[in-house]
């Protein structure tokens, strides 16, 4: 590995290289920082890059630790980034919104303190759709991120900054958050691995809530094993989040057995998620199933009726929860400068909330409506029923027949910036294949699989039963190993 390309190392390669003395953490970090400077002009993946001198001081500490044989953690000074809706003490956390322009988090998210504890160096806060509502990062108040495969195209969203940065080597791995596909969708568009853990596997303490009953922090990385490494660092019971699973269930050795292969596993390819897909995307999934069969899995088609109702249910539930979760942004306790002169409470809050962007405003109004006393029965409560039925259907599929459910991560190819931003309803359909995992709280992963004739990435989604994250990673790794070689991301 020559110097100019060390930053292309996978996470496992990084750890091996730095601990064996092939390169130092400082060298790696300093290369990464100068690459960020140059790459950001093209991708706008980051909202805020941390102070380089402070970061380099930490890297030197790690290097000293390695030299003197001390423990330096599983990540050993690896440069990582986090989505800007994850709190880091003393750092700005804007959630891609003008509403939180001046908000400096007073505490570390659990995922952040666990990254730090294992020697991770957080270099930047990644761009995102405002409050994670969106599929393209076009709804960021600070301008869209661009897809490293083609800068005229969206990187996906809402964790578009994290995916673009990882694809463009601005970090080795990144943390995103996945409410309806927000990790998997941009991972698919940028040809990186995006992992959405079982609900409760990773603490949400410090993740700014959008739809708290379904969202999870998840790693974005360049390989399945890298995602497993980072997942192992951030997963596990947390006393700050009562919804985290017990330590025993959340076994942290996600790399263990990951090379075990897929032989004997039964894979269901979901009809409802493939039928309307772009032909190139559909063909990719077909080839993927052949790859898996060649590796010893058995693949067959399966129908899940409730998937057809999943997107409306998803938007109803997330909107209702968003209206509640975002109600606290009244600019009273933190926020931006806006004098109270001339306002009383209600008019002040109304004025202050005027800073929310169009998508957030739309969903909050929708959320207030669908959960209001007069309409909850027709919308919100009905959406909960759909969710319960969908959960039963998916649980049955796993209980009776399948280890893995497979589909395209996104039914369509990445599209141009601005192409769909005026058509929110057609954008919603982009979520069709990803929301089921969130609504049913199952783990799911997007694995880069192919590149279209036009040079745009195609990802394949795999989903497993609750707490079967290790099985899922093993299956994803098997697909990654079998797939035809992928081209390098263009410079």
């Amino acid at each position: 590995m020559n110097h100019s390309s060390i930053i292309r190392a996978s996470a496992l390669e990084y750890v091996r290289g730095v601990t064996s003395g092939e390169f130092t953490a400082e060298e790696f970090l300093s290369e990464t920082l100068s690459h960020i400077e140059e790459a950001e002009a093209r991708y706008n993946a980051y909202l805020h890059v941390e102070d380089g001198q402070k970061l380099l001081a930490r890297a030197r500490e790690i290097d000293r630790g390695i030299k003197s044989g001390q423990k330096v953690g599983l990540l050993a000074g690896m440069p990582v980034s986090i989505k800007d809706n994850i709190c880091m003490r003393g750092s700005r956390t804007t959630c891609g919104s003008r509403m939180l322009e001046g908000f400096v988090a007073p505490y570390d998210a659990t995922a952040v303190s666990r990254l730090h504890a294992e020697g991770g160096i957080i270099v930047a806060k990644a761009n995102m759709d405002e409050f994670a509502m969106g599929l393209t990062t076009e709804f960021s108040a600070y301008g869209p991120s661009r897809n490293p495969w083609n800068t005229g195209y969206v990187p996906g969203g809402s964790s578009g900054g994290s995916a673009a940065a990882t694809a463009a080597f601005e970090c080795v791995a990144s943390l995103g958050s996945d409410t309806g596909g927000s990790v998997r969708n941009p991972a698919s568009f940028c040809s990186v691995v995006g992992y959405k853990p079982t609900y409760g596997l990773v603490s949400r303490h410090g993740l700014v809530s959008y739809a708290n009953s379904i969202e999870q922090i998840g790693p974005i990385a360049r390989t399945v094993s890298d995602a497993a490494l980072v997942l192992g660092v951030i997963a596990g019971r947390d006393e700050h989040d009562d919804t985290t699973a017990d330590a025993a269930a959340a076994d942290c050795g996600y790399l263990e057995g990951i090379e075990g292969g897929i032989e004997g596993m039964r894979v269901g390819i979901v009809d409802e998620m493939t039928e309307g897909a772009d032909p190139e995307v559909a063909r990719a999934v077909e080839r993927a199933s052949k790859d898996l069969e060649a590796a010893g899995a058995s693949c067959e088609r399966i129908s899940l009726d409730m998937v057809g109702y999943s997107v409306p249910s998803y938007y109803t539930i997330t909107a209702a929860e968003a209206a509640s979760n975002l109600a606290r942004y009244d600019n009273l306790r933190y926020g931006y400068d806006l004098s109270v002169d001339g306002y009383e409470f209600n008019s002040y809050v109304a004025e202050a909330r005027g800073r929310f962007g169009p998508e957030v405003t739309r969903r909050m109004i929708l959320g207030g409506y669908v959960s209001s006393a007069g309409h909850a029965g027709r919308y919100y409560l009905k959406a909960l029923k759909v969710r319960a039925k969908l959960t039963r259907e998916v649980a049955d599929a796993f209980a009776s027949s399948y280890d893995i459910l497979m589909a395209p991560t996104v039914p369509i190819l990445p599209f141009r910036i601005g192409e769909k931003s005026d058509d929110p309803v057609s954008l919603f359909m982009v979520d069709l294949n990803t929301v089921t995992a969130n609504l049913t709280r199952r783990p799911a992963v997007s694995v880069p699989y192919a590149v279209s004739a036009g040079g745009l990435p195609i990802g394949v989604q795999m989903m497993a039963d609750s707490m079967q994250d290790k099985t899922l990673l093993r299956a994803a790794r098997a697909l990654e190993k079998r797939r035809a070689p992928l081209p390098e991301v263009p410079d």
Binding site: S209, D241, R328
Partner: protein, 509 residues
């Protein structure tokens, strides 16, 4: 008309007004817990500077999550059990969404029976003054912050918010509209504050720790909700006023308006609420950040075994085990200070005398001592708390548990007359001397020696010839003569020996 609600204003045509119907919603802060309902900040915020008792969780900072206080669930379950409620298999929490400056998240985490019975308790019933009061539900919820208004005129008014209270655990008790009148209401509230204190949930003496809203109507009439009542004392007054107001309306054939009224503590009246009632669209959502909490039978049993004796159980024990007269047991059991003292000093033999000494003499002495004690430091605690502490201190100054036990033992074993015991108690309180010192110094020992008493008895008979003559037919006269002997011996004569001697001398006479 209520039993003691006022002057009995019948209708204009002379018929009685309809029966009042009263229901309560009581908010009790769990001040005895260590921390708030969802974060580690202190449950009792009193005495702290504005916004000192806060953290990212109770300030509703982005990314924070509630962490349910398990002790609040246990104590809430105990209250529910003490109120005779059914305990659900599992409890859940809901968000009540509305905008108000004292609400850091612009929603309040509370409980609701939306998906089956998932409040901490429900469908209870408790006997008060011979009548059953239904408990609709008991629920856990967080207290909002406190609004403070500064500035003289409405135009210059500044609203300040202190979030020290935000997130304080509250247990809300909603009764059925079963109260028959202010007397039953008062007894219920007394019982409830004893109960929460006994269970180690709340110090009811703390200002604002127990608050209530009342629903008042006359049977068949519109319901009026009275808010802003900050003490139980005022609650009773507010209800009495409101019943009288509604009866006056009724007697003039005016319909009572369905409305929310506020209690004006200064003018001692209820006034229509100036604030527009918030629209009731709370958009309740299940609080997904708090997983459902299972409350299994084992937990319930272990909590039940940990529950301290209730006031009524205590009263029952005093009456049945120690043969204490019911009226005395009422007084003794309803005051934790004295019932604790009683239990500490009691033996099987001295219990009755002990109860008598405490209720007839000690309570008065303590009250007097507390009244003359110097005012407590105002900064250290607010009025209610200071008052209670003063009384506790006064009690331990007046007498020790050992002293009390020795005193009661002496009376119960016949070694000291009740009158002498009273004197001894006063002396011990005044000088701080031990029982042994006081009884020997004052020569308070009982004279039961017949030969010693015979002379006194004979002199009384010769001094009271008239009474001596009537005594054979009238037992009251014998008592009169016993009293004379007591006077001469300064209360030291053994009453039984004296009576026997008198009877013998008179019949011999």
């Amino acid at each position: 008309m209520s039993r003691d609600g006022g002057s009995g204003s019948g209708g204009a045509d002379g018929t009685a007004a309809p029966r009042p119907v009263i229901g309560l919603e009581i908010h009790c802060q769990m001040t005895s817990l260590k921390s708030k309902l969802f974060c580690p900040c202190r449950a009792d915020y009193r005495g702290m500077g504005p916004n000192e008792n806060v953290c990212p969780v109770c300030m509703g900072m982005p990314g924070t999550l509630p962490r349910l206080n398990a002790e609040a669930v246990r104590k809430g379950t105990m209250i529910a059990m003490a109120l005779g409620c059914a305990i659900p298999e599992r409890i859940s929490f809901f968000r009540k969404n509305y905008f108000y400056p004292d609400l850091p998240k612009n929603f309040q985490i509370t409980q609701l029976d939306m998906y089956g019975d998932t409040c901490i308790g429900g469908r209870g019933s408790i006997l008060v003054d011979g009548g059953a009061v239904g408990i609709r539900r008991v629920q856990l919820e967080e207290d909002p912050g406190r609004m403070i208004y500064e500035g003289a005129s409405a135009r210059n008014r500044i609203s300040l918010v202190d979030y020290n209270r935000a997130g304080t655990p509250l247990v809300e008790i909603v009764t059925e509209p079963d109260f028959e009148g202010p007397r039953q209401l008062r007894l219920f509230l007394q019982m409830l504050s004893d109960m929460v204190e006994n269970l180690g949930v709340c110090n009811p003496a703390l200002e604002g720790a127990m608050r209530a809203d009342a629903n008042v109507s006359l049977e068949g009439g519109n319901r009026v909700e009275i808010k802003n009542i900050s003490s139980f004392h005022d609650l009773e007054k507010a209800v009495v006023f409101e019943i009288a107001r509604q009866e006056a309306q009724h007697s003039r054939d005016l319909e009572v308006v369905q409305e929310t009224r506020h209690w004006d503590a200064a003018r001692k009246i209820t006034i229509p609420s100036r604030l527009k009632e918030e629209e009731k669209g709370y958009r309740y959502l299940l609080e997904a950040d708090i997983p459902w909490v299972r409350i299994d039978a084992e937990t319930v049993e272990s909590l039940r075994s940990r529950m301290p004796e209730s006031v009524s159980e205590k009263r029952e024990r005093f009456v049945s085990l120690y043969m204490i007269p019911p009226q005395v047991a009422d007084v003794l059991s309803s005051d934790k200070l004295y019932s604790d003292l009683f239990d500490a000093a009691r033996t099987d033999r001295n219990a009755r005398e002990l109860a008598n000494i405490i209720t007839t003499d000690l309570m008065g002495l303590v009250m007097a001592a507390a009244a003359t004690a110097p005012a407590a430091d105002r900064d250290a605690a607010d009025g209610g708390d200071a008052q209670k502490k003063k009384r506790d201190d006064a009690a331990s100054d007046v007498i020790s548990v050992d002293g009390l036990r020795e005193l009661a033992d002496a009376v119960a074993s016949g070694n000291m007359a009740r009158n002498s015991a009273k004197q001894a108690l006063h002396e011990m309180a005044k000088t701080g001397k031990s029982f042994a010192e006081v009884s020997s110094e004052m020569d308070l020992g009982l004279v039961s020696d017949e030969s010693e008493l015979l002379g006194v008895v004979q002199s009384v008979i010769s001094e009271e010839p008239q009474a001596a003559k009537q005594a054979s037919s009238n037992p009251n006269t014998v008592n009169y003569l016993v009293g004379k002997v007591m006077q001469k011996t300064r209360g030291k004569a053994d009453p039984q020996v004296t009576l026997d001697l008198l009877k013998r001398c008179l019949s011999e006479g």
